[in-house]
């Protein structure tokens, strides 16, 4: 008997059809033509005006559609990120997805006491080392705004150096302005083995933000131009959150965010055609009671799924997104539910670079336990998203025949087919508990937070990035940090 081998369909989520994608894109272009953006940066203003944009009022620049379309054509459709050893790690394009942590939380849950407390630099290191160890996280962000740095003006430089010391994975970094960005770039060059090596094999991506609605501060555009010139990949969302910086209705919030992204892209591509730019506006919603930007709401997942459809239908550029975060204050049932919702939908809609894994409290608090739990949830969603392979080996009629022939003693668990396939056929949880009640009780009845906490402690006690950073490099970084005191 000839059993079929057929391609495996991998489940996908679709939110926008082509007509919706085109309609939102058209609205974004109309925003740029009709209102334009408020461009505080004189150099960028001149660049825009020299290429067909028009100035009106004070610093407002109208950008014609053809400039946006040209920028979309010249931006690369793939961004390759390498790890810090120069090995290919992330190919940001099409349906590839990669998860990682977030930046800039004010507080973290203390690993010992479980209490929320202000972040210190050692936390940045712990999060980076944890990411380095976890299999489903591909890149690290700082996860903290350390309060114990010698000079707050260089907080991001210190955080970057601390991440370099603790992970070899690719990194997404924050900078405040040109000065600290340049220092971070110097450290990155030291890690990569020179500016040209970093340009050829970037291991880092910058996250900067314009301000909705339609405002481009000078320091932000400085960073954008710096990244374009150095070909450091960058994304530039604006925080066009529904009800906050943008209209309450998601279509309008998306159109505004995309318009802002396109304005950034135009400046970026005029500065250096073909420089890598990660697309994506970050459209969440303001909570209508607390006025916080929600990290657990369905709206953010919905807009980024729609953006993935716009990528597929129109833009072709890899996109920036979020998942694995929550508005809950502790690692509780709400945290698990919200994290899993965004992880699953981000994966099913094939968002490309997915950050903020492990955020609690709408991004104000980070948690090592939450990162670890989310890593497992990503594994679970990944298993689902891989679909069901259909071929002779998975249809397994031969195994059935053996078990049938064995008569009363026949059991699949003892068959070689089970032994050969169980690790790929099934998702094997580590933190999610399926133990028998008595076993669980005998272990002290630990809840998911406790189990995650144990796993974090184990990892931090045992794991060090391999290979370790060379002493000469660490010394060079310390010398560069002298400028950040």
């Amino acid at each position: 008997m000839q059993l079929p081998t057929v391609p495996t369909h991998q489940p996908r989520l679709k939110v926008f059809d082509r007509r919706q994608a085109l309609a939102v894109h058209s609205a974004a272009l109309e925003i740029l033509e009709k209102f334009g953006v408020q461009m505080a940066h004189a150099g960028a203003r001149d660049l825009l005006l020299a290429n067909g944009a028009r100035l009106y009022d004070e610093y407002w620049v109208r950008i014609p559609a053809h400039m946006a379309e040209a920028a979309l054509r010249s931006a690369p459709r793939q961004i390759l990120l390498y790890n810090q050893m120069g090995e290919r790690a992330m190919a940001l394009r099409d349906d590839h997805f990669y998860f990682g942590t977030g930046s800039d939380t004010t507080f973290t849950l203390d690993l010992e006491s479980g209490q929320r407390r202000p972040c210190v630099l050692a936390d940045t290191g712990r999060f980076a080392r944890l990411v380095d160890a976890l299999p489903n996280l591909s890149f690290a962000m700082s996860m903290s705004n350390p309060r114990d740095v010698p000079n707050m003006d260089f907080i991001y430089v210190q955080a970057f150096a601390e991440m370099v010391r603790n992970t070899n994975k690719p990194m997404v970094f924050i900078a405040d302005r040109l000065e600290d960005m340049a220092l971070i770039h110097q450290i990155a060059c030291a890690v990569a083995g020179g500016e040209e090596a970093l340009r050829r094999k970037p291991f880092l991506l910058n996250y900067s933000e314009a301000i909705s609605p339609l405002r481009f501060p000078e320091n932000v555009v400085d960073k954008l131009i710096f990244c374009a010139r150095k070909e450091v990949p960058i994304c530039l969302p604006s925080g066009s959150n529904a009800g906050g910086g943008a209209p309450i209705t998601l279509a309008g919030a998306m159109a505004l965010g995309i318009a802002e992204n396109l304005a950034g892209l135009v400046i970026h591509q005029l500065t250096q055609p073909g420089a890598p730019f990660l697309f994506g506006p970050n459209v969440s919603a303001l909570d209508m009671k607390s006025a916080v930007v929600s990290y657990g709401c369905p709206e953010w997942s919905l807009t980024q799924a729609a953006l993935a459809d716009m990528r597929d239908e129109l833009y072709g550029l890899p996109i920036w997104s979020f998942a694995g975060a929550t508005d809950a204050k502790t690692v509780d049932a709400q945290a698990g539910a919200e994290a899993m919702f965004s992880i699953t939908t981000a994966m099913l809609s094939r968002c490309n670079l997915i950050h903020d894994v492990g955020y609690l409290e709408y991004g104000s608090t980070s948690s090592l336990e939450m990162v670890t739990l989310a890593d497992e949830l990503i594994g679970m969603a990944r298993h689902f998203t891989a679909g069901i392979p259909v071929n002779p080996a998975t249809l397994a009629l031969d195994a059935l025949e053996r078990v049938k022939d064995a008569g009363a003693k026949g059991i699949f668990l003892t068959d070689d087919h089970t032994f050969d396939h169980f690790e790929s056929a099934l998702f094997l949880p580590d933190l999610l508990d399926r133990s028998r009640y008595d076993t669980w009780q005998a272990a002290g009845g630990p809840d998911l937070y406790r189990r995650s906490n144990d796993k974090v402690r184990r990892i931090l006690a045992e794991h060090n990035p391999a290979p370790e950073k060379e002493a000469a490099l660490l010394q060079q970084i310390n010398q560069l940090l002298e400028a950040a005191r």
Partner: protein
């Protein structure tokens, strides 16, 4: 004279009806300050309470504040003597280097609704501009906002500038914004930290004992 209907209209956020009721109250001979205190501010007290309890959403609360402001415009020409009596003057701004203002604008609306006079200096406000406004506007509270951890130090700079200019004894300082904490407020010598717009009102009333 009871202003219950007017209050209810403000709570509901019916701008047109509230303005008409305000005009009617004036026509009936009511005192402008009395309409303000017993009709409008009383309504906003209810709104503030309901909002704090989670029984009202932000857009509803802001609509009530907007409704109240429209009624105040109707009242303005009718105040006796020195004009409208407010709960105090608050100088507000997002600190130097920071251009984020959604949170600060929410705070301004809420404080205004609660009966304070607001002088909003906008965004990227230098310490010198805060000092100048305190002197010129006779500010009793300075409220500072920051969204970025890198701009938080501008709060400390502003407090130093106020101290140097000799205003620190006469002005109260309230700070807020995503990266700001109660500990940070203490460490820079602010009088209080307000985590959100609702608590900004509570804290402002407490600071000025009104």
């Amino acid at each position: 004279m009871s202003f219950e209907t007017l209050s209810q209209t403000v709570i509901k956020g019916d701008m047109q009806a509230a303005a008409e009721l305000t005009r009617k109250a004036l026509d009936d001979g009511a005192d402008a300050q009395q309409i303000l205190d017993q009709g409008l501010i009383a309504a906003m007290d209810v709104v503030g309470r309901k909002f704090a309890e989670g029984a009202m959403f932000v857009p509803q609360m802001l609509r009530s504040a907007k409704t109240m402001q429209q009624c105040v415009e109707v009242l303005k020409p009718h105040f006796q003597g020195a004009g409208m009596t407010t709960k105090g003057t608050i100088i507000l701004g997002t600190v130097k280097g920071d251009l984020h203002d959604i949170g600060k604008n929410l705070v301004a609306m809420m404080l205004e609704g609660a009966g304070f006079r607001i002088v909003d200096l906008g965004v990227d406000v230098s310490p010198a501009a805060f000092v100048e406004a305190v002197a010129k506007e006779n500010g009793q509270i300075v409220g500072m906002s920051a969204l970025l951890s890198t701009t938080m130090p501008a709060m400390a700079e502003t407090i130093t500038a106020l101290t140097t200019a000799g205003h620190r004894e006469t002005v109260k300082i309230m700070i807020g914004g995503a990266p700001v904490t109660a500990d940070y407020a203490t460490s820079v010598g602010a009088d209080c930290y307000a985590p959100d717009a609702g608590s900004a009102v509570t804290e402002a009333k407490r600071l000025l004992d009104v």
